[in-house]
Symmetry: C2
Subunit: 340 residues, 2 copies
């Protein structure tokens, strides 16, 4: 990966050497804690009384979840690991507080790459208001990265569970869908250009402000983040709530970049928007109209696109695509299956 | 691993199938939470006001940290992953509350083994008062297991940091040392018998009650758990506190099982007690005598052996072994180095 050999490997630097490099990154934020990095545990102040704690964990394994593409910046890998977790907290409207990372590394991993990864991870977490407390660093046959992030959910705020959708709710998504899958296709094809799409794949953004604003201003809502594709994740929400999620495919928001790229390569952009993963946009179900939801965000100074793409109906649980003629077609998930 | 082929692989069962099996184990304890398993996040009640939060994470990679020995029970692997984390919390006197697990599995992993692992993990955490909230399950080339456990430390209790040792303190350890390393040697040699030693390696016990009792009854103390061997971990404490940890090697507590086995195979049991890892006993420094520390535990109904093995002195930081003649020999750590 390094363009500047000779690189120093973590095996050559040794565990203590690596830890002291990484603790330099950590200690900028952990210094004020009751017990910071370098002990058996980190100890943080008490949580805000009454605030519930919100827990999430995501793992990324080299070869399964990511590859070191030519030109990949390891900092982006750290930022993405943070963003995938923060996106989960965003979907419950939680405020990120603390994080722990597990870093499995091959002995020949380049120390500069590991430091860049760690700095990117720390940067993204810090920007979201969370403190990286440390974790564990071990030898593994490939990069194996796992992040735990814990946030707080203010007293009295609703729990935006997947099971909270009800018939009559509008179905909304933030941003545009399919961009990340297109960006991955660009990378896999060895293509250049299409920076917007590649950027959406390598540097996703957790919709933290949007999630918090929605939870703070809607009494009952169901929300989740879209990590495995709208069809797959929407079906999960349908099952959890015991409802039909009925989408109007024409309303699914597409970026101009996706539309242009898809036309050039002969792909169907709506197929990517329905089945492509890693968008990290929010899927929201609430008893509100599109203008109402847009107004809620605008009132809080949030300009992020939010689009109504369907309706929750009673009936056999599942995700359905309504055709122009009014017929519903059940969408089978083609999302990410980790074990095949 | 399975003695009852044909085994079902996680690839054949599929991710959703595996998750629904595992969620059956989780849901026995997560049902009463504001948001249990199966959503983007788990949400738990507010922490006790004033209680600080205590964070730890440990990772175990197949081939680096463990092997599937003939006769290994996957439940023991889960229990050990829990115990290594709980041992960290024990060293700060924290009460375990919640845990998240990252489960990287090869596609051909036996579902029965995964379930046994998960059940063992859940069982050990439950026994310690912690609730396993879920986590992430992904495909990886080998078993790659990471556990985060968060506990609470009561308001007003001291922080038993590694850096809190002071000249004049007594140095104490719980239990006996070297048993786990001997147990590993038995396993590696393909030997049978020596159940006590093997058990100490495969099924370590976190000293939770001991840690909590010590933190609750001593105003200032330094404490850590012994995971990489007394020499290695003691040197870390010495460095963190800026003190000399001076040990009397004759006082290091040895089990009869270790002494017997070592004599039979011609090993030095004290060498194993000083340099063997994974004992998960507590190393304590406090301004107390051995009878005082024993009385503190006895008053709380704790019968665990605790032994004074040395003294904290001022001077060049390091771990020293005092000879009969009064000369000090600096011990170089031979503990576990993860990257070589």
């Amino acid at each position: 990966m390094s363009e500047h050999p000779p690189a120093q490997s973590v095996a050559a630097l040794g565990e203590q050497g690596l830890l002291s490099r990484l603790s330099g990154i950590l200690s900028r934020h952990t210094g004020g804690l009751p017990l910071g990095t370098g002990d058996d545990c980190a100890i943080t102040p008490a949580a805000t009384p009454g605030n519930r704690l919100v827990w999430t964990l995501d793992t990324m394994v080299e070869g399964t979840h990511f590859r070191f593409w030519p030109g990949t910046h390891a900092g982006d890998l750290g930022r993405k690991l943070a963003a995938t977790n923060l996106s989960d907290l965003a979907s419950k409207g939680a405020a990120p507080r603390f994080a722990l990372v597990s870093l499995g590394l091959p002995g020949d991993a380049d120390v500069a790459l590991v430091e860049a990864f760690y700095a990117g991870l720390d940067e993204e977490l810090t920007a979201a208001g969370a403190i990286l407390l440390g974790g564990d660093t071990v030898r593994a046959p490939q990069w194996c990265l796992s992040l735990t992030v814990v946030g707080e959910l203010g007293e009295g705020l609703p729990i935006a569970a997947r099971h909270a959708a009800r018939p009559g709710d509008g179905v909304f998504v933030t941003g545009t869908l399919g961009d990340s899958a297109a960006g991955l296709a660009v990378l896999e094809g060895g293509g250049s250009g299409h920076e917007f799409l590649v950027d959406r794949h390598l540097r996703p953004t957790a919709r933290l402000a949007e999630g918090r604003a929605l939870v703070a201003s809607i009494d009952r809502l169901a929300m989740m983040d879209l990590s495995d594709g709208l069809a797959c994740d929407g079906a999960r929400l349908a099952t959890a709530s015991g409802v039909r999620v009925v989408l109007d495919g024409r309303l699914v928001p597409l970026s101009p970049a996706l539309t242009e790229w898809a036309a050039a390569v002969g792909r169907d952009p709506r197929e990517l928007a329905l089945h492509g993963g890693e968008d990290y946009e929010l899927l929201l179900c609430a008893p509100l109209s599109e203008p109402q939801v847009r107004a809620l965000l605008a009132e809080r100074g949030i300009a992020t696109l939010i689009t109504r793409i369907g309706t929750i109906e009673a009936g056999e649980p599942g995700l359905f695509l309504r055709s122009d003629g009014g017929d519903d077609r059940k969408l089978e998930a083609k999302g990410f299956e980790h074990f095949t």
